[in-house]
């Protein structure tokens, strides 16, 4: 019974939070609601006994992804509402409705035709973390390593793009050095 109560409570909370994220015109409200929704989703993983995935959901989405969104929003005036520009609301409505319908069909089709089954059921003898690790490092080793390589490529690309002027630190330079750098930059532009 407690599981049912918890499920409906968190289902309601998750849907409410994501609705706020979509419907509000205030950027800060949307961000907070999205972060809260991400945390409420992890409750479903806990209810299913997938502790590890639940915690990873909190760490990755709320701790890292949402914090990066927030970091991006530092450069806007978040205390005012956003004026949205909708040229044609029918197109927006139709496309988003179609996308939602597609997602529902993708997930419901295998359930309706009963073609879904757990290949790797939970092994009670070892913990949830070990279960995930065993599957990840045997059957899904190649995709896992590919993802790792792709992340490494993205990281190196990010450092190369952002790190062009990393050897200069304005806080550590004296006023004359900064002036000198500005002069040389102006000359280079001319």
């Amino acid at each position: 019974m407690f599981e049912a109560i918890a499920f409906y409570l968190f289902a309601f909370l998750t849907i409410a939070m994501f609705s706020i994220a979509v419907l509000t015109s205030q950027a800060l409200h949307a961000m907070t609601a999205l972060a809260a929704g991400m945390i409420f989703i992890s409750a479903f993983f806990f209810l299913l006994g997938a502790d590890f995935i639940g915690v990873v959901q909190i760490i990755v989405y709320t701790g890292a992804v949402m914090a990066l969104y927030a970091f991006g929003m530092m450069f806007f005036d978040t205390t005012r509402g956003v004026k949205e520009k909708n040229a044609n609301s029918m197109i927006v409505f139709g496309l988003s409705g179609l996308a939602a319908l597609m997602v529902v069909i993708i997930f419901v089709a295998p359930i309706v035709s009963e073609n879904i089954g757990a290949f790797y059921p939970i092994n009670e003898a070892v913990g949830n973390t070990q279960d995930v690790g065993m599957v990840l490092f045997t059957k899904y080793l190649v995709p896992f390593e590919l993802a790792a390589v792709m992340l490494l490529v993205a990281m190196i690309a990010g450092i190369v793009l952002a790190g062009k002027k990393m050897d200069h630190s304005l806080t550590q330079m004296s006023e004359e050095e900064i002036e000198l750098m500005r002069e040389s930059n102006k000359k280079a532009q001319l």
């Binding site: 205030q26 800060l28 409200h29 907070t32 502790d51 970091f71 205390t79 913990g127 973390t129």
Partner: protein, 329 residues
């Protein structure tokens, strides 16, 4: 799910909430007295014996002060931000074993709210969520100092989470479990088996990162009084500001418990002496936070980032690799 389990859990939650909220108050008293001692001042002396009633006076002031919501702030977010800080601090406490299990009136009590087998990951995750308190508080305040503080908070938390996670990875590899109880049992053979001897580098890194995660003095940039007033707390008054404060002090206590359990042997074999030893270790680690505040100046934000990404993170990665090689052969 029997009734006894339910009542036990609720009692545990209430005890942790009250004890650590009160300890946050006492923490401020200790902080003032210790700072005063180290800086050759007297600290609080007027209210009560040795100034002890200063805690009560501060509490009454915080509770009864007018709750001001300034014009121009984003109301709901501004109101909820302090609650996030305090709530995440106490949520992290759910997976911490505060004492060895003991029997009272024939009933065995486990002084841990939820013994989940991913305890340490859960604590790190919830502490990561604690970032939203300063972040949302700063962004909704409509104040430039608060906004600077929020930006600093986001960068410091994201960066130092990397160091915390990587430094703790090596001990996790040695123990082979994420449960804090398993960590404690791994080191139950006395001082010689403490994790700090086999993982000194990880211990130092985690300790440094703990200062950043709690926003204590060498890394106190998030609310640096002499440059950005009180940072994210500038626009807050009364108990809303008090909640930020309780969250910060509760976090200091909880991270001291985590450090003592992971690296310093925890409560050892589970005897009464072991429990006392755990409290002693936590007291020392808490004292160290205050000691550092008295002894060290703040670092600059760019120095903080330099320290994290160019010094601590490479050391943590090398530590993980060496631990892996040693474990393999």
């Amino acid at each position: 799910m029997d009734t006894a389990f339910f009542i036990e859990t609720i009692v545990k939650i209430v005890v942790i909430l009250t004890v650590f909220s009160a300890l946050a108050g006492f923490g401020t008293y200790f902080e003032r007295k210790i700072l005063a001692f180290m800086q050759r001042r007297l600290g609080p002396t007027y209210v009560g014996p040795y100034g002890l009633l200063q805690i009560a006076a501060d509490g009454i002031k915080l509770f009864t002060k007018e709750d001001i919501i300034p014009a121009g702030v984003v109301g709901p977010i501004f109101k909820i931000a302090p609650v996030i800080t305090a709530a995440t601090a106490f949520m992290a406490a759910a997976a911490i074993p505060f004492m060895p299990e003991f029997t009272i009136f024939g009933y065995t009590v486990h002084p841990i709210v939820a013994d989940i087998n991913i305890g340490i990951l859960y604590i790190l995750g919830i502490m990561a969520v604690g970032l939203y308190g300063p972040l949302l508080g700063g962004m909704s305040s409509n104040n430039k100092y608060s906004l600077i503080s929020a930006a600093r908070g986001a960068s410091v938390f994201i960066s130092y989470e990397v160091v915390t996670g990587l430094s703790i990875l090596a001990p996790i590899m040695m123990v082979g479990s994420l449960s804090l109880i398993d960590f404690n049992n791994y080191q139950s053979g006395g001082i010689g088996s403490w994790m700090v001897w086999s993982q000194p580098v990880a211990f130092i890194l985690f300790w440094i990162a703990a200062f950043a995660e709690t926003g204590r003095t060498p890394f106190h940039l998030i609310a640096n009084d002499h440059e950005i007033i009180d940072g994210f707390g500038t626009e807050y008054s009364g108990m809303r500001w008090g909640l930020f404060f309780i969250g910060e002090y509760a976090n200091m206590f909880f991270i001291s418990f985590v450090m003592a359990i992971i690296f310093l042997g925890g409560f050892g074999d589970g005897s009464a002496l072991g429990a006392l030893a755990l409290l002693g270790k936590v007291a020392f680690l808490f004292f160290f936070f205050l000691w550092t505040r008295a002894a060290w100046p703040d670092v600059r934000p760019d120095q903080l980032m330099w320290l994290c990404w160019k010094v601590l993170m490479p050391i943590a990665v090398v530590n993980v690799v060496i631990t892996g090689i040693v474990l393999m052969f």
